[in-house]
Symmetry: D2
Amino acid sequence: MATQSHRLTEQASGVYIIAATPFDDQGEVDLYSIDSLTDFYLEKGVTGFTILGMMGEAPKLSEAETTLVMERILKRVDARVPVVVGVSHSSNRHIERLSKEAMDLGAAGVMVAPVPNLKTDEQVYGYYANIAKLLGRGTPICLQDFPQATGVHTSVSVINRLIDEFEQVVMLKHEDFPGMRKLSQVRHDSETSGRRRISILVGNGGLFLPQEILRGADGAMTGFAFPEMLVQVCQLFSEGKSEAAEDLFNIYLPLLRHEFQYGIGLALRKETLRRRGAIRSAFVRKPGPVLDARDHEELTRLIARQEKALA
Amino acid sequence: MATQSHRLTEQASGVYIIAATPFDDQGEVDLYSIDSLTDFYLEKGVTGFTILGMMGEAPKLSEAETTLVMERILKRVDARVPVVVGVSHSSNRHIERLSKEAMDLGAAGVMVAPVPNLKTDEQVYGYYANIAKLLGRGTPICLQDFPQATGVHTSVSVINRLIDEFEQVVMLKHEDFPGMRKLSQVRHDSETSGRRRISILVGNGGLFLPQEILRGADGAMTGFAFPEMLVQVCQLFSEGKSEAAEDLFNIYLPLLRHEFQYGIGLALRKETLRRRGAIRSAFVRKPGPVLDARDHEELTRLIARQEKALA
Amino acid sequence: MATQSHRLTEQASGVYIIAATPFDDQGEVDLYSIDSLTDFYLEKGVTGFTILGMMGEAPKLSEAETTLVMERILKRVDARVPVVVGVSHSSNRHIERLSKEAMDLGAAGVMVAPVPNLKTDEQVYGYYANIAKLLGRGTPICLQDFPQATGVHTSVSVINRLIDEFEQVVMLKHEDFPGMRKLSQVRHDSETSGRRRISILVGNGGLFLPQEILRGADGAMTGFAFPEMLVQVCQLFSEGKSEAAEDLFNIYLPLLRHEFQYGIGLALRKETLRRRGAIRSAFVRKPGPVLDARDHEELTRLIARQEKALA
Amino acid sequence: MATQSHRLTEQASGVYIIAATPFDDQGEVDLYSIDSLTDFYLEKGVTGFTILGMMGEAPKLSEAETTLVMERILKRVDARVPVVVGVSHSSNRHIERLSKEAMDLGAAGVMVAPVPNLKTDEQVYGYYANIAKLLGRGTPICLQDFPQATGVHTSVSVINRLIDEFEQVVMLKHEDFPGMRKLSQVRHDSETSGRRRISILVGNGGLFLPQEILRGADGAMTGFAFPEMLVQVCQLFSEGKSEAAEDLFNIYLPLLRHEFQYGIGLALRKETLRRRGAIRSAFVRKPGPVLDARDHEELTRLIARQEKALA
């Protein structure tokens, strides 16, 4: 279904939006909102999508819902931009099955975070090596390096070894915190040693996006509810206008920092997307964060201040 | 399907075996071995079953496999003993759905471990209270208190509050470590304050079973590959023969301690069950522990020593 | 030595600067820089000091150095503003001894973070209750609630219970993350239930200072290297100029967010203080973070951008 | 002061007892009991001492007490057996100072556990490499690999690299859990690759001592309150009587397993040592575990059962 040009490669850059999964107020998957949200992201100019990630509440979907959401988004995107599918799971069989399903449906690649309880470099390497062999060369892989959520630390030497041994490893979602030196090291190692240069997109809500781009990141993979800013910032940086890029970024920084709060950040994002008309309900599946009146009021104030600053 | 007498109650005692899920050497669910393992456990005299727990590799089963395993075991047990079904999941909707399915198929009750990231007493209480309301009075609940795996600490006061407010909370799987004082406190609080006395079965491989029974536990919920010992020890204790019970326990303690090792313990258990003819393959789904030659040799020696001590 | 008016009370507000401990390039305590840094903080208008905290590298000082630093700062401050002394330690005897020494030297109160391995509400309460009894009514206590560093979660109900039972508990250093709802709850509970209202100063580098003041915080207890901003923001909020306050805050937010990085944040702060002439060396004791050329360049750029935005 | 023969080497084997630090009932260091405990350990035939470890409550001693305890034990031992001194600390300067003091007083070597927050192989290696360089070749080092307490995982490749680069690294205190395969790997790597073979002594209360000796461990470094068993077991193994060794071990296993409980285990050990006349008080410094009546009764029963089994 997808054209070959949308296979994820080391050249990927820009904004891969981490897509929310919209539910209705009863918690059922809302197909209408999937479409409207997909349109919203496309209109804002995102370069690609990452679906069924942690922020997409993937672990709370049934298998049928997982397929439904994946199909619906891929159909709506209609091969206009690449779509990466999160396939992290406690069972390798499941990762293999879901990856195959995703690629068959036209996904550009898959994103994999390690299972918990991997402790040493050898263990982390071994885990990813097994997955890479299981999926084969035909399935581009994005490594999700998010130790705050997984408890697993992926060292620069493990990343380099995976790059050297598996051509299907084409992207790093850089989400270690603090992690700027790690980013610089991965970049440095590819520049000085003839190592293949993979794509690095940054997460953590984009909190350090300008600094990370200046250190060699190729863009962002995050779910900030104002993706147009991320898009413009990446664009300005690519044009060499780093000061203008960061000026723009800083206008949004207060709200971006607000969304950066783990847990409740997802509820804030969905509510912001709802207010912007992108989805019909901000429902988060249980157990999950719920905004109270004070949270709503605070969000309203921050959005109003942002609008004023942009005016 | 199940008779009402098999509904899990506060009076539950003895040995609820944590059942392994048998796979063949290719990792497929092995229905033949499910039957033979079920028969094995029943022959050894277990009081009940707990299926689809962590040791049952439940998170590595697909939804269809989950149903398949549950149906097969429940059918084979044929209401001879109560079967508790592990339903822990990151989504409450899934817990609700799986619990309903289990109860409809004849389960005696469900076991629930908390999701990670619950930090305070209020949060742990809130989590379980929501689950209890969702499942309703008709679904007996066993609280799985296993902080080494979940990272969540369930205090005595939370346990007491849940006992007081939800009649469907009828059992505690006590698996905190070290946790003997907690066990004594829960017992003490029910004896002195008129609080409902629930069943307490102990986990952690049974490492402290004699001490825990003397502190008021009603038996064990664990997967030691020689369940006949657990059965006899509980029987002897119930007859007041605590010294004989502990003498017997101690003969098995070296091997039990060996199985107590997190991670590799599951592979050791499955291999022991295979050697005993209960299952056809010791396969553990990936990523998971794999025994090497040294591990096999060590296990052989420990089993031989145990047999000699029993002779 | 200190006047009674500097005893820490529930009315404390404004900016209690978390003071760095200056070393020379060989790692020896630099008394000259202690004086210059103390002067720097006072000139910037801080309301109080918090010394010997985690950012003050307190666990890396010898006992003699601890006394030396404490004496030197208290002497230099000369009772102009209150000084809170961090006394967290794995031994209660040490906390008692150091607290007595601090109070005798003129400290306004002490700050205590819990030891690791406290899990339940009862355990956290028990820990603090023991400390409060040990120190007595004459030693004002600031509770440091910083689970990211300690692994201990202090619930609202534990905080409330400590407020109710120990009059010496007069301040909460609020540093849970995300923690804004907790802040609101502590405030709400004191407003609606007749509970004593204690001072709440916020940490986490001040990343959410405006939002937290709007939720009822009384100020900041953090070590941002531009304390004059914190002072002005608190002042503007106290005058009801919340929009102007947040406008000012946001100019500094990019750098403040940069310092927020755990670990390396301390090296960035000390380097910034060095550049501003407040200390002579940015040395951090080993093991500890060291800035590389890229880190320096990045910091230079962020400071330059901040200066331009302020111009 | 110490003879050169007591410098710790790769040939170390047998039982290095982790010495408790005796206090009186008011919590003051009890010099009389230090002497009697030292005599007790020597009478039981230990090969060496490890003092000021975690079980020695080292982090709860003042600097003066640390020196006092170290001097007293070293004097009492009087160079009859080697004494290893725990010097783990958050500051490298402190490790250097304490190590020098220990070696000057006649210690055989020092034991170092890594600081928390080391995540990757490179970070763990870097930490230990810095310490090794700081202490120099003249100070034999025992690596304490105890991730359950430190949160740091030291991989086989890091251990091997340290062995290869630093001749002063002569011993591994193996305390990872489960960790038997790691032990086998370290041994295997030294046997097959011409790598220097260092001493490996096992911790974790000795819970797997027979298995670990069969896998190549040279003995135990733990604090079980019946050290004579550890001594005899090591002796029997060295004579090739592995079955007799394990038979003896298993008689003590129930009590040893009981002491294995983290936290309360220390209180149980001190109480057992008190009952055996080795120390005058079982006091543990606060915050710390305190035995209640039920704990005492349980301990009494387990000791009585052990005595009966030995009779």
